[in-house]
């Protein structure tokens, strides 16, 4: 059978600006396609991305040739399979239990959300990225992980440093130097907090991991916390900005959601429409094939959930935000063993708490100039600004 066709025209700059036109073309012309700009075989159809994620025996998460290990100073659970992955994920899971979400993190988020909304000025233009979405996502994560002393700025700086380091495919010095500085600060805080949580255990991730009956290695505890920092701020931040953009630019839908109270559906639609994490990597553990295309052992594919979420086979007008869709089988939280651990937390924070709260408080919120909103990102994607007038 043939190898994947090669797309060698698109540039990484174009993908960062807007990858959706390429995905639309690939879905119809070459759903299994080697894209030179990223050095990976892209899978752009929903059934293929899902099948790959659901078959971890054939598709390993361990993609050895990425800057992630260097950036995280560790081989993390994101890039592990099987029992090893399960043990490290399981160590952190009690923190995210339904009971903790309901009794601890939900009420904590509600308090912070109220406080951060109180600070916003009325009747003037305010950008919700730096004033609300970023800091609030950082705050709740710091509390859940067991790093309450970390400031919102610290958390956001560390998160961005980890992301930029992990995405430093050009192997430049600056992102690694920056993330190394972040590690020094994170390590110092983690070590400082260990004694306290040994003495007074609670349900935070750090406490749960160090106080487990059979704890995982300290190096993996640290790596888990850093994965959560790197992967737990930008997604809820970008999802909030995206859902607000979607609702504010579709006032009919907003009216209907206000009437029905189905804010959860609006949240799901936002993460479908522009998936905060757009792509994932998997490596073939054996010779295999998809749609009649040979994928030899060690081929690294990118499952493009951003594209799966717009797949014409599943969604009508997938390029449009529609909070009133009857069905929304998006893949933004992934599937299989690496299914997003924060999925329920995100659904609760945004769908159950933030959206009703912000529209209750500012029922006439307006997006000032929708065309000034800048969307960026290939691996992670979201708005860089969201100028609104609150009233």
């Amino acid at each position: 059978m043939p190898l994947a066709p090669v797309e060698d025209k698109v540039t990484i700059t174009e993908l960062v600006e807007n990858p959706y036109p390429l995905y639309r073309r690939l879905r119809s012309e070459a759903p299994v396609c080697a894209v030179k700009a990223v050095g990976r075989v892209m899978l752009t159809k929903a059934s293929d991305t899902r099948a790959v994620k659901d078959d971890p025996d054939t598709w390993s998460s361990d993609d050895p040739n990425t800057p992630m290990k260097r950036a995280f100073q560790a081989h993390t659970l994101m890039r592990k399979d099987g029992e090893e992955h399960k043990a490290e994920r399981g160590a952190m899971m009690p923190t995210f239990s339904p009971r903790n979400l309901k009794t601890l993190w939900g009420p904590a988020y509600e308090t912070f959300a109220g406080r951060y909304l109180d600070r916003l000025p009325r009747d003037e233009v305010v950008d919700l990225f730096p004033t609300l979405a970023g800091p609030l996502a950082a705050r709740i994560l710091a509390e859940i992980l067991g790093l309450p002393e970390a400031s919102d700025d610290d958390m956001q700086f560390w998160s961005q440093a980890l992301i930029d380091g992990a995405g430093n495919f050009g192997w430049q010095d600056e992102p690694f130097e920056r993330v190394d500085r972040a590690h020094m600060a994170m390590n110092a805080l983690l070590e400082k907090n260990v004694d306290r949580y040994r003495a007074e255990p609670d349900q935070t991730a750090l406490s749960v991991m160090i106080n487990a009956d059979d704890p995982i290695a300290w190096s993996q505890i640290v790596a888990n916390i850093k994965i959560a920092i790197g992967g737990g701020i930008n997604e809820p931040r970008d999802a909030l900005l995206t859902v607000l953009y979607g609702l504010l630019t579709n006032p009919d839908q907003l009216d209907e959601v206000k009437r029905s109270g189905n804010w959860g559906a609006a949240f799901e639609e936002a993460v479908r429409w522009v998936a905060p994490i757009q792509v994932s990597a998997r490596r073939a553990t054996r010779d295999t094939e998809i749609r009649g295309i040979d994928l030899p052992k060690d081929t690294v594919v990118m499952t493009i959930q951003a594209s799966a979420n717009h797949d014409e086979d599943l969604f009508e007008d997938g390029h449009l935000f529609n909070a009133l869709r009857a069905k929304n089988p998006h893949q933004s939280f992934g599937s299989g063993p690496h299914h997003c651990m924060g999925a329920h937390l995100a659904r609760m924070m945004l769908g159950k708490i933030m959206l009703p709260m912000i529209f209750d408080r500012f029922p006439n919120m307006e997006l000032v100039d929708p065309s000034s909103v800048v969307w960026r990102g290939f691996g992670f994607r979201g708005p860089l600004n969201l100028p609104v007038r609150l009233n």
């Binding site: 994620k53 339904p98 959860g264 089988p329 939280f333 599937s335 299989g336 299914h339 329920h344 659904r347």
Partner: protein, 107 residues
């Protein structure tokens, strides 16, 4: 092979042959049953394979375990006494003829 019948929210029935040892969720996925999403693939980390066991089968299948019952709090549709995560029901000879009802949504 034991037969399992899925009845979706519209009342459409699909009966399939299930492999012993597979979960009811895996059986649904293997046969393309739409009403089961199963985001986490059976790790009991989501609640997107929610199903209602038919009353006649509820005793034989048994109730949800503690962790499973907690996770059912995240189910998108109403949780009833017969609610289970279908990833936690293992197909066995004595479940031949099992009937499960599917909720309207999983997310």
């Amino acid at each position: 092979m034991p037969k399992v019948t899925f009845i979706d929210a519209d009342g459409t029935e699909t009966t399939v042959a299930a492999k012993i040892g597979d979960s009811v969720m895996q059986t649904a996925m293997a046969h393309g049953i739409d009403g089961i999403t199963a985001e986490c693939g059976g790790a009991m980390a989501c609640a997107t394979c929610h199903a209602y066991v038919a009353d006649d089968w509820a005793d034989k299948v048994g109730p949800a375990g503690e962790t499973e019952a907690d996770m059912l709090d995240f189910a998108a549709c109403e949780v009833k006494p017969t609610s289970r995560l279908s990833c936690q029901i293992v197909v066995a000879e004595n479940l031949d003829g099992l009937i499960v009802y599917l909720p309207e949504h999983q997310v």
